[in-house]
């Protein structure tokens, strides 16, 4: 007999999908309803995800067989601590963006409200699906649902955004092909698609070249999807021209969910023992190191605020992948295994979500895109700018913000792995972050608006964005500090450590 909560994984995906259709129908009848349906759905999903997390932490993983078919024949949804954690983050950010987008979309895309919310809901469906599934082919399907809706949302502003969307479409499809090829390779040697089943069938085949090739294909395919450094070229345009809430979702959670998919494949389908056979994680670390530095340097050269944030995301994916790369060598509590990587997934979602929403607020108020146009805005939009400052100093890594904690944990992990070069890279990167974020802060607060281009003259003396946009921004900003303190206090670390225990990444003492 299953308890109600054990049905939640499938319900989360299902109600999201139904709500996408409902929005279309309801929006056809009354144009005002879509935002409310969307917010209500995601709120319900969010509550469900918290219940799942609680259940998983107290009672262990949830296994749900779709249609009652026994795996490996049927599709299985498996939720353990790792999924539940990512699920909570993604629905929280999704909720914040949905609340924010009510006013912002009315302003930016007044004629496309219905289709925007329908596709947004599909995006959430795809993201949830990737997270809860325990079937490798099902994961592929959901990644595609997620990506296709992302292509549509990015292109929704038309004109130049269409080009950005098309670039993403082409590269994303190539990534999907790699991923599919990887699945095919694995299927050809094992005849199974269920992750748990695969993990049992694969160990004798670890020496097999097809299996190794499949792993590499997964890495390349997902690296494109997660904009890992040399394969990041689609990302800056897509982030810059998408509506801001979609930029926030893209940067804050979509690429992170792809990282989740990678972690899941690497540690659940394959295993630590397999990874130790190949030097692949060492290579990953170095590429990530280059990503951190290059992403920051490219961010410094940008004039457009959202493009700058986009390059900063490239650097931050480097942080996460560096932490993943170090996960097999760091074994001391509390920075052992995947803890720093998972920590930065949440931290980056908070910081970058906040920053993109603030960038969106500037566009909403006065159509400000370039950094130089923000002169003296700190006085006119005090709360929004304060949120930006908090998120920006988190990115720089000033204690006690979340960015500082991530930096500290990754540094400890690399010290333990005896890879001192990464300590230097992390410290240098926080200086580079300082340079490009401080430029914005300085422009907002320290430069008067006497300049010849008085671009936001339309804003009167003090003019904040509407409350429904301000609340998500301020919530995310304050969480940047609150979570930082919680991480430092180590309250949330034991939960993450269960993930490490699950994957055999921790020394039990």
């Amino acid at each position: 007999m299953q308890t109600a909560i054990e049905h939640f994984p499938v319900l989360i995906v299902a109600i999201s999908l139904f709500s996408a259709i409902t929005i279309l129908v309801a929006g056809w009848i009354n144009k005002k309803t879509p935002p409310f349906i969307s917010i209500a759905t995601i709120l319900a999903q969010f509550v469900a995800s918290i219940l799942i997390l609680n259940h998983v932490l107290t009672k262990g993983p949830i296994h749900y067989w779709l249609g009652g078919w026994k795996p490996p024949w049927g599709i299985e949804y498996v939720v353990d601590v790792l999924n539940a954690y990512v699920l909570v983050i993604l629905l929280f950010l999704g909720l914040a963006c949905a609340v924010y987008s009510k006013r912002s979309i009315e302003h930016e895309l007044p004629h496309k409200i219905v289709s925007f919310y329908a596709i947004y809901q599909l995006l959430i469906t795809g993201l949830c699906g990737v997270t809860v599934t325990g079937d490798i082919f099902n994961m592929y399907v959901f990644i595609e649902i997620m990506s296709l809706s992302a292509y549509a949302l990015i292109g929704s502003r038309g004109k130049i955004a269409l080009k950005a969307s098309f670039t993403y479409l082409v590269l994303g499809s190539i990534g999907a092909c790699f991923f599919l090829l990887g699945i095919g390779f694995l299927y050809s040697v094992t005849g199974s698609l269920n992750m748990h089943d695969l993990s049992l069938l694969l160990p004798p085949l670890y020496g097999n070249r097809i299996v190794k090739a499949a792993f590499v294909l997964f890495i390349v395919g997902l690296s494109i999807k997660m904009a890992f450094f040399p394969l990041h070229t689609w990302l800056p345009d897509a982030h810059a021209f998408a509506p801001s809430e979609i930029s926030a979702m893209l940067s804050g959670i979509i690429i992170e969910v792809c990282t989740y998919a990678f972690i899941r494949l690497a540690f659940s389908v394959f295993s630590v023992n397999f990874i130790r056979l190949l030097p692949i994680f060492d290579i990953l670390c170095w590429v990530a190191g280059i990503a951190i530095i290059m992403g920051s340097i490219l961010a410094m050269t940008q004039f457009n605020l959202k493009r700058m944030l986009a390059y900063s995301s490239v650097a931050n994916m480097g942080y996460i992948m560096l932490a993943v790369g170090l996960s097999t060598s760091a074994r001391n509590y509390p920075w052992c295994g995947l803890t720093p990587a998972l920590m930065h997934i949440l931290n980056h979602a908070l910081m970058k979500g906040c920053l993109f929403l603030v960038a969106g607020a500037f566009i909403y108020k006065a159509d400000l895109w370039d950094i130089t146009e923000l002169r003296g805005l700190g006085r006119k939009m005090p709360y929004t700018c304060a949120a930006f400052v908090i998120a920006a100093i988190s990115m720089i890594g000033v204690p006690p913000s979340v960015g500082f904690v991530s930096k500290l944990y990754i540094i400890f992990a690399s010290l333990e792995a005896k890879k001192f070069a990464f300590v230097a890279i992390l410290l240098v990167s926080s200086l580079l972050n300082l340079i490009y974020f401080w430029r914005v802060i300085e422009t907002m607060y320290m430069k008067g608006e006497e300049g010849e281009e008085h671009s936001h003259a339309s804003i009167s003396s003090k003019d904040e964005i509407p409350l429904s946009m301000l609340i998500p921004v301020l919530t995310l900003a304050s969480l940047c500090i609150v979570m930082g303190v919680l991480w430092l206090a180590g309250i949330t670390i034991p939960a993450l450590n269960k993930v490490n225990a699950m994957f055999g990444l921790v020394v039990i003492r």
Partner: protein, 515 residues
């Protein structure tokens, strides 16, 4: 004998400036209430900190930890005698500088005063946090808060020059922060703890000699706030800040946090024995000696009064570093009491510079001819501060210089005794011309006013030229500087005022183990 006592007092002391920062924001529309909160917070904070003195003198160590960050690293405070000296200095001077700020900011009709008071409170939050922290990681957290919160104060004027200064300030101090973080994590990975311990936590057994040397250099680079040469140039540049900021932050809180960190590292992380063993004392002392002499030479060449004071600060900070580097009880006592003494004297000088600026709009020494007759109180206080810097009795500077000299003899390094004496001589060389110009120079008939700052004060300057204190607002400025000048003299006769000397002795006794 030594026991730990749980107490919430460090938290309360820290909470005062943090709360006042929030209240300042809330009452931004009502300046009088806003400044009232600041003043209240300053006084409450000082009382709380001062109330810890008796316990510390009895040999108790006040500890209060909130949570464990990493195995062996707890976030929280451990108040010992040395930390308390720094905390008393910064919190007491915060009272005076807050009063002074009211006069200064209103007389000059400065913009963004709410931001100014907000950031000021946060800077004190950082400085007192640094003083009371129980380990390197906690200290690092407050150290970084101090860096970030002082940026808006440095760049306050928002002129291109101020913005440049702000950037330079951040570039230097944030780089330093990165080095410090590197040093902290390396220490932790070597020793497994970062607590400040009387005998030091590192020993030769932990790592090869070269690693310990490199670690020490990382620490030194991390404490770039101490403005030793050749990493000093941010400090004179930062003098574009409003004068109360230069006074408290660049004579007391920020730079002293750097020096404080060096003392902590030498005495409580490395320990005297290890420093001897590695021969780091001589290295550090040579650095300090170089800075003392060269910064004094630089100071002679400055015409801008605040910049000259800045170079004087650079030179004086290195006295403290030298005192520690001598590794002798007397030297360390000198270093510890020079932190408050130099704070009091230098703040007097800065406050005087600010009063002159407000009253007459003059920033350069060459324009100050005869100003001593127009502003007798201010210039008298200035003379007291300047004499103290040179180490003349009966001013506090004499006491510290006495201990430094004794320290040099005690550790048998006569060369450094000579350096101290030469540096004192150079202090005379750059301070006396100011006094001479001010009192005996002939006052110019027509001032050449230039720049926008002058426009603000030109209305006021006519009246104030002759007598200070005519307008009540100037009382806010004259009284604090008179008090600091008074204390500078008092400390010479009664070094145990505020228990500063007792605390220093207590700290030194702990370090050297019942000497």
């Amino acid at each position: 004998m030594i026991e730990g006592a749980e107490s919430l007092r460090p938290w309360l002391a820290i909470a005062c400036p943090a709360l006042s920062a929030i209240l300042v924001l809330l009452f931004s529309k009502r300046p009088n209430v806003r400044e009232g909160w600041t003043l209240l917070a300053t006084i409450v904070q000082f009382s709380i900190i001062f109330s810890m003195v008796p316990m510390i003198l009895e040999g108790t160590v006040i500890e209060s930890y909130l949570f464990t960050m990493f195995p062996g690293i707890h976030f929280g405070f451990k108040v010992d005698a040395f930390g308390l000296i720094f905390a008393i200095t910064s919190s007491f001077l915060w009272i005076l500088v807050s009063i002074y700020s009211i006069g200064y900011m209103r007389a000059l009709r400065e913009h963004a005063q709410t931001r100014y008071y907000f950031c000021f409170a946060f800077a004190i939050f950082g400085a007192v946090g640094v003083a009371l922290s129980g380990n390197l990681v906690t200290m690092f957290i407050f150290y970084e808060i101090l860096t970030i919160s002082t940026y808006p104060l440095v760049a306050h004027e928002q002129t291109p020059e101020a913005l440049f200064a702000g950037r330079k300030y951040l570039a230097y101090l944030f780089t330093a922060g990165s080095f410090l973080l590197g040093a902290v994590v390396l220490t932790y990975s070597l020793a497994g703890t970062t607590d400040f311990n009387k005998g030091g936590i590192l020993t030769m057994a932990f790592a090869p000699r070269s690693v310990l040397m490199i670690l020490f250099i990382l620490f030194l680079l991390g404490f770039m706030k101490a403005a030793y040469m050749p990493f000093h140039s941010w400090l004179p540049t930062a003098m574009v800040a409003p004068t109360p900021v230069s006074a408290l932050l660049h004579a007391v809180a920020v730079v002293k946090a750097g020096v404080f960190g060096i003392v902590r590292t030498v005495c409580y992380i490395y320990g005297i024995d290890l420093m001897h063993e590695l021969g780091l004392g001589i290295m550090l002392a040579s650095f300090a000696a170089f800075t003392m002499i060269v910064a004094s030479l630089f100071a002679i060449a400055q015409d801008n009064l605040k910049r000259r004071l800045a170079y004087s600060t650079i030179s004086q900070l290195s006295y403290i570093v030298l005192g520690v580097a001598l590794l002798s009880p007397m030297g360390i006592t000198g270093a510890m009491i020079h932190i408050p003494f130099h704070g009091f004297m230098k703040i007097t000088l800065f406050l005087c510079a600010g009063s002159i600026l407000v009253a007459s709009g003059k920033e350069n020494i060459s324009e100050m001819a005869g100003i001593g007759r127009a502003m007798p109180m201010t210039m008298f206080a200035f003379t007291v501060g300047a004499l103290g810097m040179c180490g003349t009795p009966p001013i506090a500077g004499f006491i510290s210089k006495w201990f430094f000299s004794l320290g040099a003899i005690q550790s048998g390094q006569i060369a450094f005794l000579c350096v101290i004496l030469i540096a004192s001589l150079l202090d005379v060389v750059y301070f006396f011309p100011i006094i001479r110009t001010a009192f005996f120079g002939k006052m110019l008939e027509i001032e050449t006013l230039s720049g926008d700052r002058e426009e603000k004060v030109v209305v006021l300057s006519e009246k104030v030229q002759t007598k200070e204190g005519k307008r009540p607002i100037y009382l806010f400025m004259v009284v604090p500087l008179a008090i600091t000048a008074f204390f500078s003299i008092l400390f010479c006769f009664f070094p145990q005022a505020f228990h500063l000397y007792d605390l220093a002795q207590k700290a030194v006794k702990d370090i050297f183990g019942g000497m």
